[in-house]
Symmetry: C2
Subunit: 163 residues, 2 copies
Amino acid sequence: MTTTATATKQFMTSDQLLEDWQGHRNLTRRVIESFPEKELFEFSVGGMRPFAKLATELISIAGPALKGIVEGNMEAYSEEAFNPKTKEEILNKWDEETEVINQYFGQITEERFQETFNLFGQYEFPVYQNILYFIDNEIHHRGQGYVYLRALNIEPPFFWERF
Amino acid sequence: MTTTATATKQFMTSDQLLEDWQGHRNLTRRVIESFPEKELFEFSVGGMRPFAKLATELISIAGPALKGIVEGNMEAYSEEAFNPKTKEEILNKWDEETEVINQYFGQITEERFQETFNLFGQYEFPVYQNILYFIDNEIHHRGQGYVYLRALNIEPPFFWERF
């Protein structure tokens, strides 16, 4: 890392990041919807987790993590609080978390994005890196969901349709 | 989009974005390496493209797109210029593109990231959105590569190891 002017060029604003993230979340929601009820909970490839489990992981990270960042709470990560049995439960929780994300993300200051935080008492990185990780992890698992859908002979939603 | 102060909060600098991207590219390189030679070019799930084809797509986007952005060239996207027959060819080209990305990315100004550009004469979006799309597309396809590896009973690299 240099100390020249280039080091401080802004790539994007926090509003732009949030809009991009919620666009990704809309697409992931459509992927959840694309699965038949049974396959959402049971189907997978190569011994991996079914997409309902992957979606539960995503739901257990984003909102709770942002809340932890804003409140300075380093409580451990847990998927046990949410144990859905139906697609509708997952989609309803997904939509609730959309609001949680908007609420807490907006409270993070520009300075805070650059500060290190020990997320879930385990992941000690600058806040912006933790947030990028949530989004990357979602794209990663959603890409896996695309393979499940293709293996089920179901056409996935277009990758570029976000809103 | 509002005009309040929150709209101009910086999420991350361009150096941080580039470091994150090259970290992703290191991981994708390890995924390419993880495939046996034959399976890299032939194996897939659900009628999708083999990972060599997905890697070729990624190689055909990032460097050429940044070059197009910097030079204002809207020439159409093409995968035809690169038609690898071996894993080594793909890895060598991957490493060449690492330098191309560093070279051109560094020439994009803060103002330019916010300007609209008609990438490949087809994708008219702000430059920062185009760049996010390249990275997201890479994570998306790499996640698919993870499923291929699992289906081949090969342990993929850790998602969080980037350097």
